[in-house]
């Protein structure tokens, strides 16, 4: 599974009986994802959509269904615990959609996951989709995606959809789209995703969508400069954001002069990445990057 999910993915949904959890579990199932179990403590023994068994604990779900990935919709006060419960039960891919988890809770999660063989995507993210394998773990509108060979990684949900839309409109499809989330403390980074796409035989090029705050885009750029031969395009949101204000995402803040859009754009350009001037030009930037490397 070079892009984390495919037809062998056996999905668990934690928080499956809540309204968002149920809505999106159904959507994933309808798209083609193999949904094998749900977990809601206190509701063990029930069935979701008349066929998917619900368990009280992740451990029970894992034992009964051999689920190997989970999608978390648990409310913020309990979401960090849900991530750790999944990791403890041996789930290898954890996608946490929940927005609003306290920073301290996520720091403890990172300590808990440190020596475990687990990939965490999110929290506060739209999830991951592989249109070729017809598998999605997330809340993205499936119909805008097309099977293809372009990877997309982003800190923002709706901005990812925007990029997907533009790529699909160009007649190119996606190998995988990964939303890594807008929180300051999170799992998979831009660098991790860049490595996945760089090494994936089914990905020809990728788009990296960042925003103000932190320095993960710079870290990805530095790695790409040295290690990645594939064409890469990028966009950074928040060039016009006032300093010191959190722009919706808990992690989108320019603090102490660090994390500016200008610094990120500079690092990306320095790595040979084509940076889109506006969010409307992400698709065009990708084409330019691919043409420059003879990939289109």
């Amino acid at each position: 599974m070079s892009l984390l999910i495919d037809q062998n993915t056996r999905l668990l949904v934690q928080g499956i009986t809540g309204s968002a959890g149920a809505f999106h579990a159904k959507n994933c199932m309808d798209y083609g994802t193999n949904l094998v179990a749900g977990v809601t403590p206190g509701k063990g023994g029930q069935l979701f959509e008349g066929k998917v068994p619900i368990f009280d604990t992740v451990r029970e779900a894992k034992a009964a269904t051999d689920c190997n990935a989970t999608m978390i919709f648990v409310p913020p006060p309990f979401a960090a615990d849900a991530i750790m419960a999944a990791a403890d039960a041996g789930i290898k891919l954890i996608v946490c959609i929940t927005e609003g988890i306290p920073v301290q809770d996520m720091q403890k999660v990172k300590v808990f996951l440190k020596d475990k063989d687990v990939t965490l995507i999110g929290p506060n993210c739209p999830g991951i989709i592989n249109p070729t394998a017809k598998c999605k773990i997330g809340i993205m509108p499936a119909y805008i995606h097309k099977p293809g060979r372009i990877g997309i990684v982003s800190r923002s949900g709706t901005l990812t959809y925007e990029a997907v839309w533009q790529v699909s409109s160009l007649g190119l499809g996606q190998s995988a789209c990964i939303g890594i989330g807008g929180d300051p403390v999170h799992g998979m980074t831009h660098l991790d995703a860049a490595k996945l796409f760089a090494e994936d035989p089914n990905t020809d090029a990728f788009i990296l969508i960042g925003e103000i705050g932190g320095d993960e885009e710079e870290a990805a750029a530095a790695w790409i400069k040295e290690n990645c031969k594939k064409p890469v395009a990028a966009f950074i949101a928040g060039a016009t954001a006032p300093k010191g204000r959190r722009m919706g995402h808990a992690g989108a803040i320019v603090a102490g002069g660090k994390g500016t859009a200008a610094a990120k754009q500079e690092a990306l350009r320095d790595a040979g990445i084509v940076v889109a001037a506006t969010p409307g030009e992400m698709g065009k930037a990708l084409v330019k990057a691919m043409q420059a490397k003879g990939a289109l």
């Binding site: 720091q107 709706t158 808990a250």
Partner: protein, 393 residues
């Protein structure tokens, strides 16, 4: 979320962090009564506003300085009287200034040493970090730029909390050793306990001082709290002073709308923080200026959309509105119903540009088309931004 200095003092007292005696007054009489109870014969009177630069600020009544050190109780009352119910302008308040409705009366202390001490969340390391320097009272970013060796950092394991040796490391790096060491480790440890217990994103003590009678104290403090964790700290939420915030933001907050006021004339309503930022960027790119950042979120209801519209249209600087929605969790039909409901209750006099894409987009477009509301529709992001910029002119 920010709090006032006098509220910081209350938190210090709760967590055993030494700080000069002080209390808050709403009137000159109250100020005098507080000062009378002190044993010191020098007092500090400080205007309570969230903005920095108070000492060098000027009141609109001509009185200079939001921080005064005085020698008598009568002077305390006099100075407090000149500050209270007056508007203080500092380099951070803008020309409008801030109304001072409370003053802090504290005992003045004589200092022989000033340090800088802060605890913040380190993003790259995913843990809290103590940042300290013997160069107290100065701008820490300037120290970091000119003399980085003067700054010491101690990373704290979030699962273990601060360990005794770490507190000693920091105290010794600040040269708070010898007879000061036990006081210093206690104040450092208790500040970390406060930071962790209250889910702070930053606690900055500038300066952390040694008095001439060898007491280690926190003289001034700046707190930031993790908004995501406020649900478990109702006592901190109670400290919120809405009069210090942008009234548009206070109103938006009531409806769980993520709103940040800006200076431009194009009101924006977008779903998703990244797309909202990108929408601001593209408006600027086409020569316009956004009036706000507004993320209606992934699970907005029709009522939230209606309220978002009310806030945008109530802003007199807004000359056009751009709605940019790419539906994922958020369904386009919900947005469309909200727009129609809002347009029917609010007397819309300004142009409205709408761009919808994503889940249930066809139903959404149909609702808009059949509503009879005057709407300029846009096909993509560039088209939407250009139409909004043109409409605002």
């Amino acid at each position: 979320m920010n709090i006032h200095e006098y509220q910081s003092k209350q938190l210090f007292e709760r967590f055993g962090v030494a700080t000069p005696k002080g209390a808050v007054a709403n009137s000159a009489e109250e100020a005098a009564k507080i000062a009378e109870a002190f044993t010191h014969n020098q007092y500090v009177v400080k205007a309570q506003v969230h903005a920095g630069g108070r000492g060098k600020g000027t009141f609109k009544n001509g009185f200079k300085g939001g921080v005064h050190v005085v020698d008598t109780v009568a002077e305390v009352a006099d100075v407090a009287g000149k500050m209270l119910n007056q508007v203080l302008v500092t380099k951070q308040t803008g020309e409008a200034g801030k109304l001072v409705s409370k003053v802090l009366i504290a005992e003045a202390v004589d200092l022989k040493k000033e340090c800088y001490f802060a605890i913040l969340q380190d993003r790259a390391a995913s843990c809290p970090v103590i940042v300290a320097s013997t160069q107290g009272g100065m701008d820490i970013e300037e120290v970091a730029a000119t003399n980085p060796d003067a700054i010491v950092k101690e990373y704290i394991d979030p699962a273990l909390g601060i360990l005794p040796f770490q507190a000693v490391n920091v105290a010794c790096a600040l040269e708070l050793n010898g007879p000061l060491l036990s006081q210093a480790t206690k104040i450092i440890t208790n500040l970390y306990k406060l930071f962790a217990a209250l889910d702070c994103s930053m606690v900055e003590i500038n300066p952390l001082v040694v008095t001439t009678d060898d007491k280690v104290m926190a003289l001034d403090a700046k707190f930031n709290f993790d908004d995501n964790a406020l649900y478990r700290h109702p006592e901190i939420v109670e400290m919120r002073d809405e009069s210090e915030e942008d009234p548009r933001e206070v109103e938006a907050d009531k409806y769980n709308l993520n709103y940040i006021g800006l200076d431009g004339n194009i009101g924006c309503m977008v779903n998703g923080a990244g797309l909202a930022m990108a929408t601001m960027d593209i408006i600027k790119h086409y020569g316009g200026s956004p009036a706000n950042f507004l993320d209606v979120g992934g699970s907005a209801t029709e009522e939230m959309v209606t309220n978002a519209f009310r806030i945008l249209t109530a802003d007199p600087q807004v000359k056009a509105i751009l709605v940019n929605i790419f539906g994922g969790i958020m369904r386009c039909d919900v947005i469309a119903q909200g727009i129609v409901a809002a347009a029917k209750t609010i007397d819309m006099k300004i142009p409205l540009v709408v761009r919808l894409e994503g889940t249930n987009v066809e139903i959404g477009k149909k609702i808009l088309a059949e509503s009879g509301v005057a709407i300029i529709t846009a096909e993509n992001l560039d088209d939407a931004a250009q139409k909004a910029v043109a409409a605002a002119q």
